[in-house]
């Protein structure tokens, strides 16, 4: 098994790059006109989940923050694709 140092050697630069990209994305949204929507709310909720994942692994907590937590099948599909964040205000 690789050590913590090995993992840092393998992934630190990549993670650093992605982290700065996220920061720049948030700045970019702030800088531009118009309104954000449920996707941006979901993004912030996911950032919060990453910082405070409770007893869950962070990746799982982030994915769950970006998931639809309703339980019943919906009556009909209105689109074929997905947005990446839940549109409804669902309870965890």
């Amino acid at each position: 098994m690789p050590s913590k140092e090995d993992i840092l050697d393998l992934y630190f630069m990549d993670a650093r790059c992605k982290l700065i990209d996220i920061a720049a994305f948030l700045d970019r949204v702030d800088r531009h006109d118009g309104n954000t929507d449920f996707r941006f709310d979901g993004f912030h909720k996911a950032l919060e989940a990453m910082q405070n994942p409770g007893d869950k692994p962070r990746a799982q907590a982030v994915l769950e923050a970006l998931s639809d937590h309703s339980e019943e099948p919906i009556p009909k599909a209105t689109i074929q694709g997905a947005f990446g964040a839940p549109q409804l205000n669902t309870e965890n």
Binding site: M1, G42, A59, Q60, L63, E64, S67, P73, Q80, F83
Partner: protein, 267 residues
């Protein structure tokens, strides 16, 4: 290193992709029936598609020494109109005895609708009737968790043997649910919407190397037919032994797929 690509949509790929995969070590490709980038306008369109899957793609793959197998169904993305879906499902028995058909798939859910779920359950009944394994597609992004739970409930109600069902496109929030219920799990190495090689290896570390495979699901979207061999490289960097790499990319898929009477890695 020899590997099996257990989930690829070669109808959307070029012949050069077959060549690149062969050079990278691919010996077997399994192609589930799915959406082809557009909605087909008639059941006849699916008849042609099933011919492509059972006749043309095996011949195209054979030119590069690759064995090509397929799974049959109408995918959930095109199953919202249940009447249409049933007309397509009525064609499936005509192809079920083709020598390269593995089972029913990739069935599942897309937007978690009532109609998708009904058609999913009817597909499961076809698999039971013909005694075939099942390959399952779980929904994308925000719909995946809910869809996986609905699928697991439906499978429990249908009383299928979980050892003969693989639930694909798992991520960190669904892998445990699938494996704990005794089903096989598939991880899809797909840019943007599914998982990276690094995360796939994390899941192997966290959930173990049993009853799990990885695939590229390369299709009409931005995807990579060489995702599995690239992940093999990543596994080497992560100091995973050659034996375990072979288990994940060859032995595990061979073990699951061998439950299909048509599957053979020899000859």
């Amino acid at each position: 290193m020899p590997y099996i690509e257990p989930h690829a949509h070669m109808v959307s790929r070029t012949t050069a992709d077959y060549e690149a995969m062969a050079i990278a070590g691919c010996e077997v490709i399994c192609e589930p029936a799915f959406w082809a980038g557009f909605d087909r306008s008639s059941p006849q369109g699916f008849h042609d598609y099933y011919r492509q899957l059972t006749e043309y793609e095996p011949a195209r793959a054979a030119k590069f020494g690759i064995k090509h197998y397929c799974w049959l169904c109408i995918n959930p993305k095109e199953a919202e109109d249940a009447g249409f879906a049933r007309e397509v499902m009525a064609i499936i028995p005509e192809f079920i005895d083709a020598p390269t058909v593995l089972g029913i798939g990739e069935i599942g859910l897309n937007k978690n609708t009532v109609s998708e779920l009904a058609i999913f359950e009817e597909h499961v009944e076809i698999a039971k009737k013909y005694d075939l394994p099942i390959l399952i597609h779980t929904p994308h992004l925000e719909d995946k968790l809910k869809g996986t739970k609905l699928i697991l409930d439906a499978l429990k109600n249908a009383n299928v043997d979980p050892a003969r069902v693989i639930i694909d496109h798992v991520e960190e929030h669904t892998a445990g649910l699938v494996l704990d219920a005794g089903f096989w799990a598939g991880m899809t190495l797909y840019p943007e919407s599914k998982c990276t090689p690094a995360r796939a290896i994390d899941m192997l570390e966290n959930f173990g190397m049993e009853n799990i495979w990885m695939n590229s699901a390369c299709d009409w979207g931005i995807s990579d037919p060489l995702a599995v061999p690239k992940c093999i490289q990543e596994m080497k960097k992560r100091q995973i032994t050659r034996e375990l790499v072979e288990k994940v990319v060859y032995d595990n898929p061979a073990q699951f797929l061998s439950q299909s009477k048509n599957f053979s890695i020899d000859g």
